[in-house]
């Protein structure tokens, strides 16, 4: 990056580090933080949507729909995250290829499973093997995001289901007394009031989601853990910047990053709780009312 970086072996410590920390591999490391933020930015709303759908379904008076919602939350909550991640990404990947295979090449006679091989016709390959590497990486990332959304959606579903039941029955009855339909009571009274009950649970899930992001590494995505291990490993002079085992420092950096990130989240969530408590029939809401009076 800097002009003096052409021969790192001759540099003094400060310059050596300024070159080392700005080399191509380190830029990929810094970029991988964006991967983590992107994962959170997409997963959080998606999981909330999944959870909302699951909670609404669980409350439904239509029995099959209610079963569907309850089975989803119970099943996903009951399986360890890692097992689910490893299993579901594989299922999605092979499922998509299998479906495309059935549509694109119905005349294909070779079996798809040949011993250890899972081979669909070339046109059904997802992504196409001629696609550039970034398409493959984005596809893998998308599968991971979808899996995260399903897993964390189930947790959100459980929290939202509980929150919906925590809204005082009297509030709903008042709505009914005004002649609102079930649907109107749900959208106009229940949903606006449930968030304050859901927030402690949801903020907990948010924290767990942040801490679950290193699972990306397990799915073969080059995230911050991958790069910390890769860059921290000891390096001989086959590399431009040889150094001993520095994994301690890289993982320590990740630790600081995650601690800072969760701390900032806590502050934001505390503010959000205060905001949502305004005018609510909860202890916090009552405190706010008294303080203002």
């Amino acid at each position: 990056m800097f002009e003096f970086c052409t021969d790192p072996a001759t540099l003094d410590t400060l310059r050596w580090f300024s070159c080392y920390l700005t080399n191509g591999a380190h830029f990929l490391f810094y970029q991988s933080f964006l991967v983590v933020f992107a994962l959170l930015a997409v997963t959080a709303p998606a999981a909330l949507a999944f959870g909302f759908a699951a909670a609404a379904a669980s409350r439904s008076q239509i029995l099959p729909l209610s079963w569907l919602g309850k089975t989803y939350t119970a099943m996903v909550r009951g399986v360890p995250d890692i097992v689910f991640f490893l299993f579901f990404v594989l299922v999605l990947d092979q499922g998509i290829e299998f479906l495309r295979h059935s549509v694109v090449c119905p005349d294909w006679t070779d079996p798809i499973r040949q011993g250890a091989n899972f081979l669909v016709c070339p046109d059904a390959r997802t992504p196409q093997s001629s696609a550039p590497q970034w398409v493959h990486e984005t596809y893998g990332f998308a599968l991971a995001v979808f899996t995260y959304a399903i897993v964390f959606g189930a947790f959100c579903g459980n929290v939202l289901f509980g929150a919906m039941r925590a809204v005082p029955r009297a509030q709903l009855e008042t709505g009914e007394a005004y002649g609102m339909s079930r649907r109107q009571v749900f959208w106009r009274i229940l949903v606006p009031q449930m968030w304050i009950y859901a927030l402690p649970g949801l903020s907990n899930i948010w924290m767990i989601l942040i801490k679950a992001t290193p699972l990306l590494f397990l799915l073969g995505i080059e995230d911050i853990v991958y790069w910390a291990r890769e860059l921290g490993g000891s390096r001989t002079s086959a590399y431009q910047y040889p150094h001993p085992d520095w994994r301690f420092w890289y993982f320590f950096g990740l630790l600081v990053f995650y601690l800072a990130f969760t701390r900032v989240s806590e502050i934001v969530l505390a503010r959000l709780t205060a905001r949502l408590s305004h005018g609510q029939a909860t202890a916090a809401g009552e405190d706010l009312r008294k303080a203002a009076a």
């Binding site: 080399n23 091989n117 046109d123 073969g220 291990r229 890769e230 086959a238």
Partner: protein, 239 residues
Amino acid sequence: MKYLILTAGLLAMSAGAASAQDVVRMGTEGAYPPYNFINDNGEIDGFERVLGDELCMRAGLTCEWVQNDWDSIIPNLTSGNYDTIIAGMSITAERDEVIDFTQPYIPPASSLFMALSEDADLEGGVIAAQTNTIQAGYIAETGATLIEFATPDETVAAVRNGEADAVFADGDYLLPIANEDADLMIVGEPVQLGGGVGMGMREGDERLAAFDAAITAMKEDGTLNALILEWFGEEAATW
């Protein structure tokens, strides 16, 4: 006329299929210098990078490099995530049952022990090796206690921090490390393992012949030997 259109259509289709096939995705570990590693620019580098690019050029194939962890490198080949394994993988009978190999491009080389002291217990001590390597398989058969790690670097780290008495790996990987670290030394006798390093491909992949021919050509015109000497030093075994 009908047939003409049909034939033309079929030709166009097969041409389309061929162009989809033309990109060969080369899977490597990127953690095993000097065979393959991620260099300071974050690119895949090493002996196998140069060799792979040369083979693809000679075989007239377009190649794209993919990094994949060692412990899932065979399953991800068979499930089609990439088309070759070019990652310092020794040809063994067990692996040959699952995947196909080209002819070897590196002759069978010796595996070495590296330890902190000359008197490390190689017969009954704790030996570190990378998971799913021929070295790990070999240690499992001896009286020593095997501890496995996902990456080669972790096996060496285990010796440095005293978790293992010695590490057992390809000599070509260990020698540069032993040369540069005053604390580490090569101990014991070299062990000959495996049938040389070859490129792995899915069973029945017809592109294997093209790579085989390219390797033969490189062996015959001496470029392969020159490349081996360049990356593994003057002592390295050649063809």
